[in-house]
């Protein structure tokens, strides 16, 4: 029973990881921008929802505000930080440092505005229901998994049946050539940032209700996203989804065998081994040189 419970818990966690990670993976996979501030997007979306919600404007407006905030942040960052750096042929590391810096800025600004402590979105949906003896599942768990399925479904179709998916891959391969095709690389990367930022919104909102928020949690979110992206294979949406779920499950099921302070180590041991044994990730294209 415990194993079943932990599996469901793991799937819930994994669904949220996957959603956040896919956003990062999509952005990184197509623009090669190491968007470490993706964690900050998460924080912004989560706190905007929280703010609108506690101010009494309700869930729908909250979601709208969170989505708008996430997109705006992603696009502005791309336009005013990443684009200028890339123009000077900055290495992906230059971008990483800038992005990390922005992450710190956001964390502290959010801390100054909303307080550095813990806030939580109150909703009856986070209370677990006993499904059978000893198996408790909260409605949010189902919502998380549903969100993951729906968002991935939409994303999958979108990438598959619109040419944007192709454009994103083309951009990753050769940004200069994209121009010669008559496409605008700026526009494509803006699309990547928009979609990637939208994808963190459900995870951010749900996390606000399940595990609560504090401005420093963007960091952790980011690390997990990164792990899932690599384990899944950079640029592979399906791979990242699987990896996100797998990491969530591993983290949860590891509790059966080890103390919880080792669970994070389990996640990152998986990451480390994956890179050594199968650098291209679960479904990625070959990455070893």
């Amino acid at each position: 029973m415990l194993a079943l419970q932990l599996t469901i818990t793991g799937l819930q966690t994994g669904a949220l990881y996957a959603l956040t990670a896919v956003g990062f993976s999509l952005i990184f996979g197509s623009t090669r921008i190491f968007h470490f501030a993706h964690g900050a997007t998460f924080i912004i979306a989560a706190y905007l929802f929280y703010f609108v919600n506690v101010s009494g404007y309700g869930v729908v407006l909250g979601i709208a505000a969170a989505t708008a905030g996430a997109i705006a942040f992603g696009l502005l960052l791309n336009r005013f930080v990443y684009v200028p750096i890339q123009r000077d042929e900055g290495s992906f590391f230059t971008v990483f440092v800038a992005s990390f810096g922005i992450g710190i800025v956001i964390q502290n600004i959010v801390g100054m505005i909303f307080g550095r402590g813990f806030v939580t979105v109150q909703t009856p949906l986070s209370f677990s229901v006993e499904l059978m003896d000893g198996l408790y599942v909260s409605p949010l768990a189902w919502i998380s998994m549903l969100c993951a399925v729906v968002f991935f479904g939409i994303l999958w179709c979108f990438l598959r049946y619109s040419n944007l998916g192709l454009s994103l891959r083309a951009l990753a391969d050769n940004p200069e050539l994209v121009k010669a095709f008559g496409l605008n690389p700026r526009y494509i990367s803006a699309c990547a940032f928009t979609i990637g930022s939208i994808l963190v919104v459900p995870a951010a909102i749900i996390s606000g209700a399940t595990s609560g928020l504090n401005p420093a949690m963007g960091h952790h979110v980011m690390l997990i996203s990164l792990a899932a992206t690599i384990v899944g294979g950079i640029g592979s949406v399906a791979g990242t989804l699987l990896a996100g779920l797998a990491l969530g499950l591993a983290e949860s099921l590891a509790l059966l065998y080890v103390d919880s302070q080792w669970t994070e180590a389990v996640t990152f041991a998986i990451l480390f081994l994956f890179i050594i044994v199968r650098p291209s990730g679960l479904l990625g294209r070959s990455a070893a040189h």
């Binding site: 040419n163 192709l166 454009s167 891959r169 083309a170 391969d173 010669a180 095709f181 496409l183």
Partner: protein, 238 residues
């Protein structure tokens, strides 16, 4: 020979980071002709092509398509006027299968979905070898195969004006001929105008109506290919 000018550069000066790579270039591509542009390495041929296709902003001068000023327009706008570019180097996306590169190319230039299959069929008639590797990632193809894909992609737009930057690099002679012959045929059948940049002068001149020679960023000669062929002039000019 009709003498209406389809693509023209007037007094173009352009370069990178403040250093002009071409200065005060004037060149005219006439309707239904193949114009070959030759010049030593670094003469500025590719730079000129980039200016014409809106990939590089010129510092001064005018670019005109069909007599209309298109200076400052981007590649998309220029390609909408029926211009296509086969870029220098390998014009492919390594991770995309050939089929996807084609559909992306057609999407970029707004070819309706319905028409796409027909166009691919049409290109495969001109470059039949491509059908052998339609579904393989372009990165795994040999250099020549990649070049075919790049040309095929440009043709899919059914351009009236085709700019090609050293398509022969890395191509076996037969392949290059196999490429040039249908292109020439196509050009005459469809009234195409082609601006060809080539180092492989001998082959290129065979299909050319006119030639221009560039040196160190300037135009130094213009005339009939026959004057260049088997001519000491050529060596002199380089």
């Amino acid at each position: 020979m009709s003498s209406s000018v389809v693509l023209a550069a007037k007094n173009i000066t352009a370069g990178y980071g403040g250093h002009p790579a071409i200065s005060d270039i004037t060149v005219e591509l006439r309707a239904n002709e193949v114009l070959t542009l030759i010049g030593h390495n670094g003469a500025g041929k590719s730079t000129l092509l980039k200016c014409l296709f809106g990939l590089l902003e010129s510092e001064s001068g005018i670019v005109a398509v069909d007599g209309e000023d298109v200076t400052g327009q981007n590649a998309r706008q220029i390609s909408d006027r029926g211009v296509a570019l086969v870029p220098e180097g390998r014009g492919i996306f390594p991770s995309l299968p050939v089929r996807d590169i084609f559909s992306l190319g057609m999407h970029a230039s707004g070819v309706p979905k319905k028409e796409q299959a027909d166009r691919i069929g049409w290109v495969l008639e001109i470059l039949p070898a491509i059908s052998e590797f339609m579904n393989r990632p372009a990165g795994n193809l040999s250099g020549g195969q990649q070049q075919m894909v790049s040309i095929g992609r440009a043709l899919l737009n059914r351009p009236r004006i085709l700019l090609m930057d050293e398509p022969s690099i890395g191509l076996a002679p037969k392949l290059f001929q196999d490429l040039l012959a249908p292109i020439r045929a196509l050009q005459q059948r469809e009234k195409l105008s082609i601006l060809l940049v080539e180092q492989n002068v001998r082959e290129a001149l065979k299909i050319s109506d006119r030639a221009v020679v560039m040196k160190s960023g300037s135009m130094i000669w213009e005339g009939e290919p026959a004057e260049l062929e088997d001519n000491e002039r050529l060596m002199e000019l380089y």
